[in-house]
Amino acid sequence: MAPSPLPSPRGRWVPQTDHAFDPPPSLPVGGPPGDNSTVDWCLYQLNGAAEFEVSEADIISTVEFNHTGELLATGDKGGRVVIFQREPESKNEPYNQGEYNVYSTFQSHEPEFDYLKSLEIEEKINKIKWLPQQNAAHSLLSTNDKTIKLWKITERDKRPEGYNLKDEEGKLKDLSTVTSLQVPVLKPMDLMVEVTPRRIFANGHTYHVNSISVNSDCETYMSADDLRINLWHLAITDRSFNIVDIKPANMEDLTEVITASEFHPHHCNLFVYSSSKGSLRLCDMRASALCDKHSKLYEEPEDPSNRSFFSEIISSVSDVKFSHSGRYMLTRDYLTVKVWDLNMETKPVETYQVHDYLRSKLCSLYENDCIFDKFECAWNGSDSVIMTGAYNNFFRMFDRNTKRDVTLEASRESSKPRAILKPRRVCVGGKRRKDDISVDSLDFTKKILHTAWHPTENIIAIAATNNLYIFQDKVNSEMH
């Protein structure tokens, strides 16, 4: 039960504490429709080494807020998990409100070697999912390609002192020196955060695990790899139930793989999984033990005018997320994000172009492998705004009510602390305004694949390679 090491592995920490402001209120993010289009985002915190010092192991591979937003977990390619905790409101230090400080760091997964297949198993953390908090401890699931682990995070701020048989260091006392008895008392100590692996769910997957999702029943969770989805009980590690299996009898007939999956937020019997062909399947576990047969299939017919060699690749869904309401699903494919209504299978109710200017460049993007990048997407707390990442460290937000969208950049240069982020524009020829960036100048090595939105407030966490940016609504941070 070693305490977690204190320093963040990601280099220097840049807290923004240069001026005082009042504690941010817990504003419901909803508000009147259209409210969010006037959100001004400003850089709140930046954590990570300068870019020329990047080592591959520091590249962030997943970001996830917990259910209250108090904790933010990141996983990286080196198998480490860093948990940030939001400073609680305090009258004493008002300018520290809402700051996310490193709470704990631990090595979740190590590289492994599968001797039978002569394969190395990467330690990269593919996904982290928090369990709903049920007692003083926090728990999360983290997974690499093969193994899912349940970690319990506890705090210790007291320790017993005054043992009769042991001395301060824990060594047994010489009994002849004990002349009186005392009752050990609990004394306060510096806060220590302890992280322990409580469960290890191994050997459940032949293929690479791409997603995990905790059920609303708080007892089970599912893990999905390319061809199968397994249902686990959080307390049982030696068994799992296979609920989806799309492996064909003959692997040469393989045409589609599972790319992402998620449980419905409220109905513990429903889950969705997306495929590399761009379809979504909603399955009901009450229908049968093996949910190969979907209850609903969401698929949009392809636009024949957009047909190209790469049509299949760009239609592959890289992420699927239920809305908080449970009424909609959000999917991300290479060029668009789409909102699907659970009640309508024929087409999405909304489609937003993320970076359509790349459509003519698909061949080059295929060559440099960028076309295989898997971007994630996120809802805000009220399901009125959706967000996803793009290239050049840009990320995009779409307001579903006003239909307005904005492109913002996560970069050190353009993000002064507390300065409002300026919307960016990519010009595709024609009239070019000042500060526009042309498509050919985009840096495709700077991609924002992982983003997360606080469950209730306008706070977003953006992972740009090895840097974690936390942006906050300026209003949110300066109210009162």
Binding site: K117, S118, N250, M251, E252, S276, I313, D369
Partner: protein
């Protein structure tokens, strides 16, 4: 015609990706390789179905992969001298015949290829241009076939069917390869000698039990230390490629 050029380029890029994927840390990525193989397949179909395909070379052009033919494989008499741009020396519109000789597939010109029909058969003959080498009975075993996990092995099955060796498909393939030899060299580079020397070792791998074994088939494809398992299907699939490879 630019479709053909682009298709050609995409095929060689895809092959390079498949080849380099085997050395990746963490094992073969099933999703990515599936997508690459789909692109490869459609690019190849576009290439083969485009008008301006070269005419049929003599049947002697193709030889088994083990015997390195004089580099490059004997071209059809009309052209092939030097790097050959597809369609550069087109002798006139080819009959809209699929490479496998069936008239059903590749019916539409260049664009919408009816993949459903085309897939099993088109790939079949293109891949089956040369008979598999006799000293590898392992390729024929059903157990082996069932384990082909990597998407690149998909056309392999067709390759195992008795190869109908009509000259036209070989000719087309060889046209592709001669025009592509330079890029092949750059793709495969100096690993060729390693490729060839390890080939027998890959073939001697004992057949595993039926495809349902927990051993991931795509992982198996990359399981050999030399990760040769993919070479066979790659080679067999695109046999004309292999003759060019062997030549170098």
């Amino acid at each position: 015609m630019e479709f053909k050029l682009e298709a050609h380029r995409i095929v060689s890029i895809s092959l390079g990706k498949i080849y380099s994927a085997r050395g990746q840390r963490g094992g073969l990525k099933l999703h990515k390789n599936l997508l690459v193989s789909l692109v490869l397949r459609s690019a190849r179909q576009v290439y083969l179905s485009e008008p301006g395909c070269p005419p049929e070379p003599p049947p002697a052009a193709c030889g088994p992969p083990e015997e390195p033919p004089p580099s490059p494989p004997p071209p059809p008499p009309q052209d092939e001298a030097g790097p050959r741009l597809p369609g550069a020396a087109c002798q006139g519109p080819r009959p809209r015949r699929c490479c496998c000789g069936c008239c059903c597939c590749c019916a539409s010109a260049g664009g919408e290829v009816n993949r459903e029909a085309a897939r099993p058969d088109c790939a079949a003959a293109s891949a089956a241009a040369a008979p598999p080498p006799p000293h590898c009975p392992r390729k024929r075993s059903a157990a082996e076939r069932g384990q082909a996990g990597s998407p690149v092995k998909k056309p392999r099955r067709e390759a195992e069917e008795p190869p109908p060796p009509p000259p036209p498909p070989q000719g087309e393939q060889e046209d592709m390869e001669t025009g592509n030899v330079a890029s092949l060299i750059s793709i495969f580079g100096s690993s060729f000698s390693g490729l060839l020397s390890k080939e027998p070792k890959g073939r001697r791998r004992p057949p595993l039990d039926g495809g349902e074994a927990a051993a991931a088939t795509p992982a198996e494809a990359a399981s050999e230390p030399g990760q040769i398992c993919c070479d066979e299907p790659v080679l067999r699939t695109l046999n004309p490629w292999s003759t060019a490879i062997v030549a170098f």
